[in-house]
């Protein structure tokens, strides 16, 4: 009895069931997940390595890459600051209507990206509520950078907050109270106690937020106006190239986005493996 008994038959399925379900799962995932990913790279290199890299000589492609980086560089920090403020208010204090607030923060996840783009057209577009005022003051939002940033901020809104809120709720306020009672200022307690406690979850949320910000298509497509070299982000440039039957170039730009997705997944898996406990105190959230 010194050795732990192996899990015996009654608490697992018969061997043929295990083998079949494993194979079915693998075929299903392979068909739906892995094959599309492989297809992106195969199509991108269909006409050889030269044609692949030539796709990035196009100034419009370079402009699209620059715009995508710029949009993410604005949208992600905005939602990062919001995520910290929201999780501080929600996790460290008790107040009425908290669960309603959490539901509202998650709301953008359940709104169609196209609807997310549409609401900004209705606000700032030529026929929108503020359209005449904006035109009178020569402010461009729709079909320009601000509109693209707004739409991106909307769709990536909950990412950081929803990683931080459950973790900070679990951590409670004891650490901060100890810091405060030892004479730390509120800001110092936040900077030296709270922030280090949540740093890996913060990074996790930022990674997911960034991936979505760079890859967003529907919301941005509605507000961008598709002006080549000016308001085309990478996903929109992929669409234009694809619709022009320029498949190699379309898949070449798409392969950069797929690479970003793979890097995000790798970093995410690494964080889950290395800092799993520091990311989510509870298994489910």
């Amino acid at each position: 009895m010194s050795e732990a008994p192996k899990p015996h038959r009654p608490t697992t399925e018969a061997r043929w069931v295990r083998v079949t379900t494993t194979l079915v799962s693998l075929v299903f995932l392979g068909l739906f997940l892995v094959l599309p990913l492989i297809a992106v790279f195969v199509e991108a290199f269909r006409s050889g390595v030269g044609a692949y890299f030539a796709s990035f000589q196009d100034p419009d492609a370079l402009a699209a890459i620059r715009l995508t980086l710029m949009v993410a560089a604005i949208a992600v920090p905005l939602n990062l600051v919001f995520g910290i403020a929201a999780s501080w208010a929600i996790a460290k204090f008790h107040f009425k209507g908290k669960s309603l607030l959490i539901t509202l923060i998650d709301l953008p996840f359940s709104v169609s990206p196209v609807v997310a783009g549409l609401v900004f057209i209705l606000l700032f577009g030529a026929q929108g509520l503020l359209g005449p005022w904006l035109r009178a003051h020569d402010v461009e939002i729709i079909f320009a950078l601000p509109g693209i940033v707004l739409a991106t901020v909307f769709v990536t809104f909950p990412f950081v907050a929803r990683e931080l809120i459950p973790l900070m709720q679990d951590q409670g306020t004891a650490d901060e109270e100890a810091a405060l009672s030892l004479g730390a200022s509120g800001f110092k307690a936040f900077w030296t106690v709270t922030l280090p406690n949540v740093r890996w979850a913060l990074l996790y949320g930022v990674l997911l937020c960034n991936a979505r910000a760079m890859g967003e298509f529907g919301a941005v497509a509605v507000v961008s106006g598709h002006i080549r070299g000016e308001t085309n982000t990478m996903p929109l440039h992929v669409e234009i190239l694809y619709n022009e039957y320029n498949f190699v170039a379309a898949f070449a730009v798409a392969s950069l986005l797929a690479l970003l997705a793979l890097l995000t997944l790798a970093a995410k898996s690494f964080l889950e493996w290395r800092y799993g406990d520091a990311i989510a105190a509870r298994a489910a959230h």
């Binding site: 038959r9 009654p10 608490t11 399925e13 018969a14 379900t21 494993t22 799962s25 693998l26 739906f32 997940l33 094959l35 599309p36 297809a39 919001f82 403020a85 929201a86 501080w88 208010a89 929600i90 460290k92 204090f93 009425k96 607030l101 509202l104 923060i105 953008p108 359940s110 709104v111 169609s112 990206p113 196209v114 609807v115 549409l118 609401v119 209705l122 606000l123 577009g125 509520l129 901020v153 306020t173 109270e177 405060l180 509120g186 307690a189 890859g215 529907g218 996903p235 992929v238 669409e239 694809y242 498949f247 379309a250 798409a254 797929a258 997705a261 997944l265 790798a266 995410k268 489910a284």
Partner: protein, 286 residues
């Protein structure tokens, strides 16, 4: 008494706390939430209400709009159903069975979260086109996937899959194996144990995963439009009809469809919350 009275009035909204920064953090949260999410969504509702009930029902009763909504909701429902079933199987396999490459497969499940929808869209279109890797064999069987509702269904399964797997998985991890042993000791077959002991507590998570996959599928745009072909009355989903109406400068038409979709989103959120509060009462967890 007056001190106590005062603290009671204060605590009506917020319990007193030694932690500073509530007004700033809470104020910033509400302002940002209002500016980015609530006011823009409010503008949509305002615009829709200015159409009036007559105008709104006029937009929605249009035959093309109705068929787009039917296609969107019907296919999303079917895709979420398939995802709920396969999501459960995949989650079970990933948690309970050991096989080479399990960690890699585990990470791959999140691919639809990370892969931009437009990239997934053109990749699926290339795969299922009549000359694609999967489209060609399917064509030999007389099945056309690209540019048909079947293509839309495939894209919706792709985007919804991680929701179905990731909601069920943590609960399977937490199942107490002793309960299964007890069930076996009391003479239940493995199938009976799975059906009557393991499955019931997983039901809320399966339903939540279904609802999340459904909500995502209904609003999905990028991964669908390339494979769908977007033929009116056949493979035209509601989101692309919004885009078409906008391109026609038919703002009323776009708003009408958007409001219906928003209402469905809210309804789905409500259902998810109901499932979770039911689960909390019935099983003591979400």
């Amino acid at each position: 008494m007056s001190v106590r009275g005062k603290s009671q009035t204060r605590s009506r909204f917020r319990r007193p706390s030694a932690i500073p920064g509530f007004p700033l953090a809470f104020g910033y949260t509400l302002t940002y939430l209002g500016l980015i999410v609530l006011i823009p969504l409010g503008a949509l509702v305002l615009r829709a209400s200015s159409l009036g009930m007559m105008g709104l029902s006029g937009v929605i009763s249009d035959e093309r709009v109705l068929s787009a909504l039917r296609i969107s909701f019907g296919l999303s429902f079917a895709a979420a159903l398939l995802n709920a079933i396969f999501g459960l199987v995949v989650a079970w396999v990933l948690v309970r069975y050991d096989f080479p490459g399990r960690k890699l497969v585990h990470a791959a499940v999140d691919l639809p979260f990370a892969l931009p929808t437009a990239v997934a869209g053109i990749a699926l279109a290339a795969l299922y086109a009549p000359n694609g890797w999967i489209g060609q064999p399917l064509a030999a069987w007389g099945i056309k996937a690209a540019y048909t509702p079947l293509g839309i269904f495939i894209a919706l399964v792709f985007v919804g899959l991680p929701f179905a797997v990731r909601t069920v998985e943590p609960l399977i991890v937490e199942i107490d194996r002793e309960i299964e042993e007890v069930s076996a000791t009391l003479g239940a077959t493995r199938a009976q144990t799975l059906w009557r002991v393991v499955l019931p507590p997983l039901t809320p998570a399966i339903l939540t995963g279904f609802a999340l996959a459904f909500a995502r599928a209904v609003g999905e745009y990028g991964s669908v439009i390339f494979i769908a072909g977007n033929i009116p009355y056949v493979s035209e989903i509601a989101p692309i009809l919004i885009v078409i109406r906008l391109e026609e400068f038919n703002y009323a038409g776009a708003t009408g469809i958007a409001v219906v979709m928003l209402a469905i989103s809210f309804a789905t959120l409500l259902v998810i919350n109901l499932i979770q509060s039911w689960s909390r009462r019935r099983f003591g967890y979400v």
